[in-house]
């Protein structure tokens, strides 16, 4: 599925002293089977933006199109199943007595048969490497384990687009690597992933396209090479290193991922 935002504006608490214009006319598309990284500082509107992808927030003006159809005309439940949204710190919404039941919540709400629900639970917990936690209480898990279970709770709906808002915030490096691995394998399986993050290094590793948001406006969109090399001061470490060396060694190209960058630098050393 393809989701397109068309000149979306969002104003919180309009007409009061608390009025904030969080999005000031954002146009952006989420293409099928891609990983779209959304980066930007705190308060740039990232979280507000992603809540428009499944209409948890309605645009103050502008439109959200799903495969060319105005999303407001679609059934909300169906839209929210197809566009799975994982909020920041999603573990705050765990509630069931066991991990299994928590993950089963969304597929049950969907009205699936019990066999299929169990199948989904096993599958998603397995994908996140949390199968062994199924019987435990979600409240007795470690931070990283809770995060996996919470992501599984959304993935169990089998969404076509998975939206992750700061999925790695507060995770240790190993747990973060695991989660990025999940993002990669989802993409290979044909699910689009929208990943919001302010960690540029991790966005560089997984994103096919990057969108830079600043004060509610899209500053840039494009491939990671285009976006990051256009503004090397606000780029992942790999891009900053290469940008500094490129003056003397133009043959380095424009690597973004760590692997590519190392290969390019190795080439330099062996000459």
């Amino acid at each position: 599925m393809r989701i397109e935002l068309e000149n979306v504006r969002h104003v919180y608490a309009p007409g009061t002293p608390f009025e904030i214009e969080a999005l000031r006319g954002v146009s952006l598309a989420v293409e099928p089977e891609e990983v779209l990284g959304i980066v930007g500082g705190t308060g740039s509107g990232k979280s507000t933006l992603v809540q428009h992808l499944n209409l948890l927030l309605a645009p103050t003006s502008g439109r959200v199109l799903v495969d060319g159809v105005d999303a407001r005309t679609l059934a909300k439940n169906e839209l929210r199943r197809r566009v799975g949204l994982v909020f920041q710190f999603p573990e705050a919404a765990l509630f069931a007595p066991t991990v299994e039941e928590d993950v089963a919540f969304a597929p049950r709400q969907q009205g699936l048969g019990e066999d299929e629900v169990q199948e989904r639970v096993r599958e998603t917990l397995g994908l996140l490497g949390a199968g062994h936690l199924a019987e435990r209480s979600p409240f007795a898990l470690s931070g990283g384990e809770k995060r996996r279970v919470a992501v599984a709770g959304v993935l169990a709906m089998a969404p076509e687009v998975l939206v992750l808002d700061e999925p790695t915030a507060g995770l240790d490096p190993a747990a973060r690597e695991d989660l990025l691995g999940v993002v990669r394998s989802l993409r290979e399986g044909g699910t689009s992933v929208v990943m919001v993050s302010h960690d540029l290094d991790e966005v560089a590793e997984v994103a096919d396209r990057v969108c830079v948001l600043e004060a509610g406006v899209v500053r840039a969109t494009g491939t990671p090479e285009e976006v990051f090399y256009a503004r090397p001061a606000e780029a992942p470490t790999t891009v900053r290193v290469v940008s500094l060396l490129r003056g003397s060694y133009p043959g380095l190209g424009r690597p973004v991922r760590l692997g590519e960058t190392l290969a390019a630098l190795k080439g330099l050393l062996e000459v």
Partner: protein, 263 residues
């Protein structure tokens, strides 16, 4: 992001009412609560109601937002009026149908009771919309402090109130976030019968409660690590100051209330 605002929440604009000392406002509101039960004439209610309308205008809080306060109490008011009107006797009989009788005395009492509730809620709303929660808590602590001689824990009570007030918006925001997270998982709070709806709130209530306990723990630790040891010897960043205009405001309030009672 506070997308929705709760009723009676502090509304930070500049107005003469916002400027007044919290203690003056608390005393005036308390006096009004007592006086309302002594007012017993149409003219008296008119005086008090006119005073409150004037104060709302002076507070610069949009009247629309302010009077939305009254909506949740409308049902209670309607019920009390119905009970008063049908079940209290006295005065001439105005209407009779089977066992239902309406007496002029009952009608009068019903209407007066409704006015009392509405005016009381308006006055309380006026206090909370024009007074910052911290100032409100400081004011209460100050007014209760004479009771400390009787071993009444004035500071602790005020601190508890301040924390409770402080966390209302936080918990609201948290509830909103969790509601959204569960909505993203297909939870639907607006459909089905009463039992179904109550059950549907569990996925929000459980994490909200757990989160509140966690927050309480964290807050206690943060307070202790910053050296909180209770109220003894504690000073304030913002000192309350009772100025001439506060005295004048109190005096005017007293005059209006006495006028309302005597009329």
């Amino acid at each position: 992001m506070a997308a929705s605002r709760s009723l009676g929440q502090f509304y930070p604009v500049a107005s003469p009412l916002h400027e007044l000392d919290a203690r003056a406002k608390i005393l005036a509101t308390t006096a009004l609560a007592v006086a309302l039960f002594l007012v017993d004439s149409v003219a008296g209610f008119l005086v008090v109601a006119a005073a409150i309308v004037l104060l709302v205008a002076a507070s610069r809080v949009p009247p629309g937002a302010f009077f939305r306060l009254l909506r949740p109490v409308a049902l209670i008011v309607a019920l009390t009026v119905v009970f008063q009107v049908f079940f209290s006797r006295g005065g001439s009989t105005l209407f009779e149908w089977g066992f239902l009788e309406i007496h002029s005395g009952g009608l009068r009492m019903g209407i007066f009771l409704a006015l009392r509730i509405l005016l009381l809620v308006s006055a309380a709303g006026l206090l909370t919309t024009t007074t910052a929660p911290v100032a409100l808590a400081d004011g209460i602590e100050d007014l209760l402090s004479p009771l400390e001689k009787l071993r009444f824990p004035a500071h602790e009570v005020a601190m508890m109130m301040a924390i409770a007030l402080r966390f209302i918006p936080t918990l609201q925001e948290e509830a909103q976030k969790i509601t959204k997270a569960q909505a993203a998982r297909g939870a639907d709070l607006s459909e089905g019968g009463l039992l179904k709806r109550v059950r549907a709130t569990l996925p929000v209530l459980i994490p909200l409660t757990i989160g509140a306990f966690r927050r309480a723990d964290e807050l206690a630790e943060a307070m202790e690590s910053r050296g909180y040891r209770g109220g003894e010897g504690r000073t304030r960043y913002r000192e309350l100051r009772f100025r001439a205009r506060d005295a004048v405001a109190l005096a005017v309030a007293a005059l209006v209330l006495v006028g309302g009672i005597l009329l």
